[in-house]
Amino acid sequence: MILDYILRRLGLLLFMLLMLSIFTFSLAYLFPGDPLSNLSGVPSNNFSQNTQLEDKYLYNSNYFTQYIAFLGRVFQGDWGLSFASGDNVFSHILDLLPATLELSVYALIVSIFIGVPAGILGSAYYNRWPDKLINSTTIVGYSMPVFWLALLLIMIFSLKLGWFPMSGRMGLLYEIPPSTGFMLIDIALAGFPYKGMAFTDALHHLTLPTIVLAMYPTTVLVRFTRESMLKIMDQNFIKTARAKGLNRRQLILHHALRNALLPVIKKIGLQFSTLITLAMITEVIFSWPGIGRWLIDSIYQRDFPAIQGGLMAVSLFVILATIVTELLYSLFDPLSRNQAHGKV
């Protein structure tokens, strides 16, 4: 039963990957300029080099053969060279993706730890002042553009008060060998050098971007948890439990919460694509050396191989994250597997 479900999901995943790869491949032809140099990243200027490239990329055969060759190169990690740096696009992505992931994961954790309890609190005090306070704060946070919030925080906490730095992942004078690409883990692996100060410095640098990035998902989670809780609290089994004489605390913690959080897990997975988009903006403002800033720089510089590779990596990541959370969700909630054939 569950195997069947997983297989169906994987089928969907494969289909999406196929569409994505076809789209990425066709970008080389859709972008202005010579498709061959868009694919390879080598600006073609001399003849011998050109024929060599044509051979490698099977440029003179039909589109289908070219596409197959393209897939082969994708799996080998040969994603062409960046126009701007002359280095392999794939190695750029490997360098940069961890920074983005790190920021997004911390923001997500923060938003779960704040958003879910705040939502529960709101539903527990439904229509009383804590609920109203949380609700109005949520609306403010939800409607504030992320770039504006970022600039505001920089103005207050970096330039005025000087509490937090405004750019980068850590003070540049600390030299941490990049082994995983996740800054905090790297520092821990290096054995907390500089007497642990590098670690606190990295946390310092993380603070503002994490707050900015966590704002939107937190507000979404607050609203969603609250609504889901209210819906559950209205159901008959809760009424029965209340009639049996359980107090509110017992009701919420033992009966309502488990059931209310299930749809929230699904919602968290769906947040990932929004999160990545917001992460790009956050990265640009805080000069965070992640994939988003790089991608936006590449767009400015018309670095087509980099745009192509970056788009592929980011979409691949979002697709994978969505599928994984859906699988997790179905593990927790057996009911959803039955409905997989479609529901209104």
Binding site: S85, D87, I154, S158, L159, G162, P165, M166, S167, G168, G171, L172, L173, Y174, E175, Y194, K195, M197, S287, P289, R293, W294, D297
Partner: protein, 535 residues
Amino acid sequence: MHKFLLTLLAVTLAGCLDSEERVIEEKSQGLVYCAEANPVSFNPQVTTTGSTIDIIANQLYDRLISIDPVTAEFQSELATDWRVSKDGKSVTFTLRQNVPFHTTAYFTPTRTFNADDVIFTFSRLFDVYNPYHFVGDASYPYFQSVGVDQLIRKIVRVSDYQVRFELFNAESSFLANMATDFAVVLSAEYAMKRKAAEQEGLFDQYPVGTGPYIYREYRRDNLVRFYRNPDYWKHDVALEQLVYDITPNGTARIAKLLTKECDLAAHPSSAQLSILAQREDINIEKETNLNVGYWAFNTERPPFDDIRVRKALAHAIDTDKIMQAVYYGNGTRAESMLPPTSWAFDAQTSMPLFDPDLAKSLLAEAGLKDGFDMNIWAMPVSRIYNPNARKMAELMQSDLRKIGVNVNIVEYEWNTFIQRIGEHRHDSVLLGWAADTPDPDNFFSPLLSCSATFSGKNPANWCNPKFDLLLAQALDTTDILMRKKYYADVQSLIMDELPLLPIAHGLRFQASSADVEGITLGPFGAISLANARKK
């Protein structure tokens, strides 16, 4: 009780301050410099980009000789002594002994600096048998534009610590060119090691020099990291670490300076200087600099081939307004092609003054009574000699409209811009030149000579045999009075012919945190951080 609490508070606060001071110390005495662009190479021979030279030249390398910024005399660096033969056609350098090259992760030197290194470095410029001559498309822009690659006949190894440069003809600017930031000495042993491993391409990317700092890492769009050279031959280096934070946005550089994320910021814009000057924790250094911002006409293209038209246009421009709105009072109005601090400077009485009526009558004389359409190319980046070319072009546009000339402003991405100027696709262009040496020839040969026209470096597309003859005569003699006279003629010839209109000389600015000292910012050439330290 209250007193007790207060004391307790005071003690705790003092403790906090204490630990904060320790933090600064343990950041291992490093300095962060907010630079404006990625370095394009780590070898100064192959580029003339100012932002790159500022990062690499004086930090990683040494030259044979340098020029004292105050007295303008040659100083010994890697060469302890230099002798020019009587006919001026050979120069013998005696080299310093026991100067070690950098030991890095990718190279460990087995010998100290000697004659082989000098021969390797400079023969790369002209000798097709040098294994590195064609690496990087044999492009050595500075040396090629001043003709050094055509000047050296051969370099002779006299002994381990003596080399003789034999020249095709005596040129008085040769020593000055050897003292530029581009004429650094590279390691021949390292080059041969790269060649043996067939990694010639990496030679210019992973540098080995003799300078005060050693290359550690470069992460594109992020940072360049150097460490102290513990065996620096000249003096002890105070900074343990030197990091370049690559921040292309000018406002972000200033903001980082305010939040103490960097100690030094390159090229703060004039508009922001007033804000910075109010802060006590920030120092603004102002330095006169040998440069000129100009408006060059494409003299091969009608109607700009007519001198009366060029003069009319020059008379139509209100330079006072430009000085206020573009330079914010931080520049000197040009009185000649050369800045007033140059020894050959000669104030020109024929400098065109703002006179729209005269401009109109000159145009009428040239048969262009009804005016015409033209374009002004404005460079897209901010430089010392012209902080805001776009704004300058807009001011000129409104001035020129008054004499009936319609101006269209053209802008391109910087590298494309330079390339298309080289192809002479413009009517006129706002550009400038910052000197690499105090030698006045540096302002003329690379810019306005006939050979510069052929190599695409002459923005006026102007070739005047009389002008070239004067330059050659000035270079042929070492008599300073004679040279002065020739350069005076050169300057007045430019004003008579007006292939370009000199507009202003900018000041060079550097903003730094108040606890940094020892930054050397000269009137020419790149910044040096060899003596920088934190108080």
